[in-house]
Symmetry: C2
């Protein structure tokens, strides 16, 4: 059995060792005998749960910095769509690996992805040692003639991929209510119920989406989903910025999950009044996400904590809003509540998914409040070591295969313009 | 004469060497002979101007993470003021050194400071090799009995310190219009004129300040300064969030400079509608600042670029607002316009104040647009090497004296609570 010992680290204020057996944390205590074990040096480092990125399009890392500071329509029609059409399976594979590299480097070990070419994405994630909820794309363009074809495609992919790896959960990814018909959303709801799957859906990202929803369906986005009968604990909504108090109540009642993507929401000017505190108060599980690198440029969940907290305070005019502990919970434990994996805690019995954070640096000096320094002062280079499923993915800032990934991504990026 | 050669680096799209002679860049060209010269490896790295931090309180780094997510009044009265009263000269010296360490690590070589104990601050900055505009505090509490005493204190400090180091510029730091009388502001204006000094003033940081100004002086903050006759090219305003279009015009007409502190403005919930684009369009020089670590927790100007850009887009609902180039200029060239030092450009003849940025990493892959990656994707750990005034302050992520600074800051932080 795989065994690993972290020595002399700091967990919630205690100096301890962490023993990993198999893919779980089996013991947290001082002075665990190291004999015969692989060890990690935890001195001057804090062990924290590794981060969960609730919404991204990993392979789009190949489009990082490709088209910034543009209005939405020319950005989509002139830059993103023509270049997405050029993406090969090799691009998807290396683009996803680049995304995984970047996530591991910044302490994320589990993410929810939405993109084409499921098989290549799954292969890349699996090889990188991470955990992910990958979604089969559903997109019928509101065209009834395409709905059945979408369903068959997903059924086929599910049969092939549902048991691909214990670190990968198959899910459904209907793109959005303006690209996926109500009939297909209802089919996805039933399919997900039957096979115990999550559904990953963009919703209420922009004011325009809400206006269009009112015009086309006569109501607001969450109410539209309610009327379709597809609100459920399986549903994970990305964005959900433009929702009212009653809609928050509906999300809470149906145990719908939400992923807040502050960087993307700010950079695309989608909206800043995300009701983070209000959703949490209503009992909604809110995770953090980065969105894809085409829109928000990196996959840094530590940064997402800071952005969510700072913007959450200022739009309310209240410096006590969106406090440290709440964004940290969204970046860690919320991942467990959404995926069902026992992650997001460094405790005996939990899955061994954690980071060591280097506190022997300026950003953690003084260290009156470790979480404050992590959220408000540090950057992600404080993440020194990353463990997922009991395996070391990064040791002393080094990830195996990094050189090859960067070289391949650079090589492949040449054809996009 | 001090000579230094950066080999095989990237400057504005060209692969070149950079020759430093004395404290200036003397030549930028391919294949400069290295014989007998100290060299820096620029391969896989981009040379950029080092950053300018237009507003901080360096020694307050000792209060990092000390009291977060609190309303302003209890934060000041229960946490900041009682602990500021405990600060010794040793605290100021090591607190400032910690701030300098953090700034160097994140690529900043020049800053504007406002704090007590000028002499210890100057000594720390000088030893760290940085450039700074340090201000003599003016604070009469609007009490006419204290005004003359303040003036004498500043005159004495000026006589002693004005020629302390060519890397330090003496300036005046009247705290704010609610703590400094109009008479003292006018005296500072004349003193600065006579001795060719900058004046560093907090202004229009909160809506409450504007309301109080209306009540006490019958007008808004910038108009109040105008009526006092103290608007001038020497005046540098920190914050200036709550100003109207006419006030922006007045700032432009009088060549007043502004420092935007996005992290602090967000975290303290001071305001997010900072008119960055409007001020620039009117011709106002706008620099970026971090404010002190008691409020914004770090001194990271690269992060300030991202925050300024993202928030600038979202409050306007316009993804083309506050673009990359404008925030980069604010983080670099604006420092030259404010201080008069020939910094903020990597060009022949300029002062040798620059960084090497490691582009051989995930955040810069792909590298379609270097500045986009720097502003939106990277974190400050991409800064690999820092040169100021022709001297190497950081080489391959190592700053001389780092261990001693962190240990002393940790030791001294024990007495604050």
């Amino acid at each position: 059995m795989n065994k690993l010992l972290v020595q002399d680290t700091w967990v919630d204020g205690r100096n301890v060792d962490i023993l990993v057996e198999g893919n779980r944390i089996s013991r947290i205590a001082p002075n665990i005998p190291a004999e015969g074990l692989e060890t990690l040096d935890g001195m001057g480092r804090a062990a924290i749960p590794s981060f969960f990125n609730g919404h991204t399009h990993a392979a789009m890392t190949l489009f990082r910095g490709f088209a910034d500071d543009m209005p939405l329509q020319p950005w989509l029609t002139q830059k993103i769509w023509p270049n997405e059409a050029k993406l090969t399976r090799e691009d998807i594979y290396w683009g996803t690996k680049l995304a995984c590299l970047e996530m591991i480097k910044s302490g994320t070990t589990c993410f929810m992805d939405m993109y084409y070419h499921y098989r290549e994405v799954a292969r890349a994630v699996c090889e990188m040692g991470m955990r992910a909820v990958l979604s089969a794309v559903l997109f019928d363009g509101l065209d009834p003639a395409r709905t059945a074809e979408c369903q068959r495609g997903v059924e086929k992919l599910y049969e092939e991929m549902y048991a691909y790896s214990p670190r990968i959960r198959f899910s459904l990814g209907p793109h959005a209510i303006y690209t996926v018909s109500g009939a297909l959303l209802q089919w996805a709801h039933r399919f997900a119920e039957r096979h115990n799957l999550l559904i990953h859906l963009h919703l209420a990202e922009t004011e325009k989406e809400v206006e269009d929803c009112r015009r086309n369906f006569g109501t607001t986005p969450v109410r539209y989903l309610y009327q379709l009968g597809v609100l459920s604990p399986r549903l994970v909504l990305a964005h959900a910025i433009h929702v009212d108090a009653d809609e928050i109540r509906m999300l809470a009642d149906h145990h719908v999950k939400v992923v807040h993507n502050p960087a993307s929401n700010l950079k695309l000017a989608s909206g800043y009044r995300f009701p983070f505190d209000e959703m949490r108060a209503a009992g909604v599980t809110v995770a953090l996400g980065t969105d894809g690198c085409a829109s928000s440029n990196n996959l840094d969940i530590r940064e997402a904590m800071k952005l969510a907290s700072l913007v959450g305070k200022v739009w309310r005019g209240d410096p006590t809003a969106t406090p440290i502990e709440s964004v940290f919970e969204s970046a860690t434990r919320a991942g467990a509540k959404i995926t069902g994996w026992d992650i997001g805690r460094v405790e005996e019995g939990a899955l061994a998914d954690f980071c060591l954070v280097d506190t022997d640096r300026a950003a953690f000096t003084p260290n009156y409040n470790f979480l404050s320094n992590l959220v408000y002062a540090a950057d992600s280079s404080c993440v020194n070591t990353v463990v997922c499923d009991g395996k070391v993915l990064m040791r002393e800032w080094e990830v195996s295969g990094e050189r090859e990934i960067i070289d391949n991504a650079k090589r492949l990026s040449g054809k996009f313009s």
